[in-house]
Amino acid sequence: MADTISPPNETNAHEEASSARSHLKPASPTPGVAIHPTTFAPEEPGGDNWNLNFGPQHPATHTTLRLVLELDGERVITCTPHIGYLHSGFEKLGEHLNYNQYVVVTDRMNYISPMANNIAWHHACEVLFNIQLTPRCTVLRTIIAELARIQDHLLCVGTAALDLGAFTAFLYGFAEREVINDLFEEISGARFTTSYTRVGGLMQDVPDGWAGKVKTFCKKLPKTFDDITSLLNRNRIFVERTKGIGFINHDDAINWGLTGPLARASAVRRDLRKDEPYLCYADNWDGQGASAVEFKVPIAHGGDVYSRYLVRLEEMRQSLVIIDQLIDGIPAGPINVLPDDKQTLPDKNEVYFSIEGLIHHFEQVMTNRGHTPPIGEAYGANETANGELGFYLASDGGSAPYRARCRPPSFINYQCFPSLVVGHQISDVVATLGSLNIIAAELDR
């Protein structure tokens, strides 16, 4: 499938990690048995081990999540994550909002890269409705999805360093994130709560000159990557605190359900953009034989925090390669599928200045009318920065989904966390947590 890019100076992280925890009694001696839970209250108070409550409000947890660590000195014996602090019933809300309204809720899931959630949500909707996008919309969505990936990875790479005390790389990353936020503000009107996509298209077309700004931004971005690389890749403190930490091997990564950069850092060759291609990652995306965009999928073999950092860094460079191929040839034409099909909301100019447009809009937004999907179920997934973000939609033929299940990458990636940190020191917990890039709003939904 993908070309393999091995990380430089690769050591055998597996051996290091196994030696680091060899003094411990294994938490689950038989493979295949899930980890044993522990409760917050120690059963026999006064023992040598002590319990540490980590979070829910702690700078290193980034968001609201809580860990209960049982410690022997500084070494983690057991780790019990408690989640649900930000549970806000997104899936219940999804059953009461229609397919266009719910995009607002997806902004608030992974708020680090809201555009990616918008695109993933409406990708699933379009699988359900069976809609083919217009070429212009396909290209714009691909460019935006890659910008969102860079946006997410810049934060993750930056905070991975920040958690270990390196402040400069974080600021380099955040300066560029600001530019991406500005680019998104220009097309959607909001920096974070973008809500940019609609069923069968986009909220509005991009303004004139936007492509040029993206191009200028992409030209100077590699310099930032070089800066981060030179700051961290051979930084002795960073490398020693990340290599061999939070190790997970190839088979376990698959068994735990890991996707995205976490899985690829454990040598799992899986990227939905290559394996189940959509948008411009698929051949013939414009209906006239256009070939898919070319890019490489970085794979690392270390399986540790350092490998995840390297995979994310390289993925950003590959995102630039994708944007470079598309930005000069954004096709002209409509952004929404043709209004004659009554599948999308009409243009606002039509609504305000023509009676046909007004009727069309009114019929679309009335609760007992509108463009409704057939009865049945569908699953659509995108490769977002954190992994596979999928939506399992059940439709009873109404204007709102009957069930809108979100397959959140954060939730599924976070499960294996106790098995990653047991045996490590408490400071490694912070490094590992940063490398998983857990966003609690997506974790709890």
């Binding site: 048995v33 980890i35 899936e91 359900g257 899986r270 057939p374 397959r407």
Partner: protein, 180 residues
């Protein structure tokens, strides 16, 4: 159906001759306009452990990853005969193939066997389904609620649970300076 899907169904029928898998697409599209093919199989709760274990272990199936595990409450669904469907979304990385499994269960005591001993990643997803739908998973190593708190009695994603809740937010005990 795609050849790889047909092959899996053939292998399964050979291994479990007495089970009717009733393969069907998740979405019946009346006209042949294409769309993505997504096939699900029906498996009863008593056969679920054996079938999922076979799908994971057999090298012709090789569903190494449990991509998603969720539940749908069909209480208000048109023409539905069963109440809950626990939906397993299986992914084979070597064959790049997905298949869905639906296990239908009903009130008063919906219960399916846990698959955590096959896929470790099922652990939290099963806890979430228990929390949100009240479907029990027998043999789960840690059957606590995950998103709501332990004292919470309802299962909020059930269709008979109202959108605005049952007043849990209003009835919550409030601690003041004097209540010590």
């Amino acid at each position: 159906m795609e050849p790889s899907t047909l092959q899996v169904i053939a292998v399964l029928k050979q291994a479990f001759p007495d089970v009717d898998f009733a393969p069907a697409p998740l979405m019946h599209r009346g006209d042949a306009t294409g769309g993505v093919e997504q096939i699900y199989l029906r498996v009863a709760a008593d056969k679920l452990s054996a079938v999922t274990r076979f799908l994971h272990d057999d090298e012709r199936c090789d569903y190494a990853q449990l991509c998603d595990l969720t539940c749908v409450d069909y209480l208000e669904f048109p023409k539905a005969r069963n109440r809950f469907a626990v939906v397993y979304s299986l992914l084979s990385l070597t064959r790049n193939h997905r298949i869905w499994i639906k296990c239908f269960v009903n009130d008063p005591d919906p219960e399916v066997p846990s698959v955590t001993h096959i896929w470790k990643g099922a652990e939290w997803m099963e806890r979430e389904v228990w929390d949100m739908f009240g479907v029990r998973f027998t043999g789960h190593p840690d059957p606590r609620r995950i998103l709501t708190w332990e004292d919470f009695k309802a299962h909020p994603l059930r269709k008979d649970y109202p959108l605005r809740g049952r007043g849990e937010r209003e009835d919550y005990p409030v601690l003041t300076r004097d209540s010590r």
